[in-house]
Symmetry: C2
Subunit: 231 residues, 2 copies
Amino acid sequence: MSKVLVLLSGGMDSAVVLGKVVNAYGAENVVALNMFYGQRHTREIECAKDIAKHYDVKLMEMDISSAFAGISSALLSHSSIEIEDDQDKNKVGSTYVPGRNSIFLSIAAGIADSIGAEFVYYGAHADDHSGYPDCTTAFVEKMTEALIEGTDNGVRIQAPFVKYHKSQIVKDGIAIGVPFEMTHSCYRGEYPACGTCPTCQLRLEAFKEAGQIDPINYKGDFDEEDSDSRD
Amino acid sequence: MSKVLVLLSGGMDSAVVLGKVVNAYGAENVVALNMFYGQRHTREIECAKDIAKHYDVKLMEMDISSAFAGISSALLSHSSIEIEDDQDKNKVGSTYVPGRNSIFLSIAAGIADSIGAEFVYYGAHADDHSGYPDCTTAFVEKMTEALIEGTDNGVRIQAPFVKYHKSQIVKDGIAIGVPFEMTHSCYRGEYPACGTCPTCQLRLEAFKEAGQIDPINYKGDFDEEDSDSRD
């Protein structure tokens, strides 16, 4: 069986993708790829290591922050843009990183083409808030076409959750035993998680909608019920 | 007028693209982007600096070689694949760098989206030998669609030579005074150029077909007529 690449950020969406891919292809055929791109914190990377270890898959770690030196986003440590709790849902938020998913997918496609992997999986989903243009069905379809055309082996992107809401990802993850306690989402990189940044809000809503308890710790009131779950 | 990004490798094709873009938009609106991606030599980078200085445009230089650590190609210094003089024209050659143009264009699109540039120019052309899948009209069209979709401002790729043969690029460059003596093509990074690697062969043929003399120096017999042109 050919190898499969999975973009593994350390967040919950890509952890569920990895769980599903390992079930489908077998851990020995899966390579996880984590890229540090200059974000403000490295907690996600530690989570990616834990998750890859949990699933017993090879993890490729790369520091590609130099490629983002000319790119502006509140998520990047070199940028002076602030992360705001309340983003205008009608426009692209400050946490949008221009070109990020195209860059990630292109690098992954290059590696896949080099090692003979047919698929690159990533965890874009329908609730990627702030209107990220590189998380939509249309983008995934067009980028897939471009990379099939632009690689020798016709590498294909697979984004199994692109039409899913995040609560469905929680349900799917729970069903297959994804270790959500190992994942990180908070944009501020705080631990316990801040609970107020856009991605903490989205995660909390998703678990609530799914009727599940998020096992990670949150600051203040959020962590009363599960403060020792990650110890 | 909005800014325009030009991928500037230091080779002859992108130098002609830059010359045309500067004529069309004015040097003050043009940013050249040179990316070191782990190739075996850095002579191209010195050429890119000379060319950018010649045209008085801002040059962004980036070392993104870490992004190519998992990619295999004869052009990459970490790879053990050899550059061969005679490549089978029916299959993709050893000098193909999987994902390279997708990665370059994605990074450029991210920067363009960050600085409000509408266009990213690059010098793919019809003679990109060895059947590079990321230099074709189909790839350019599909990647353009993907990046328009995946960026906030709908950044567009422009590949003005994608249907041109290299000899036409020579003619166009001569017509607008492109400093071909400042450009580098040899895959082996040799100076004088080896004259035998696939890209030296292609360059020599293009100048011959265009009825022009290539002003750079070549090893052995090639440089008899113009050995002092770059001194």
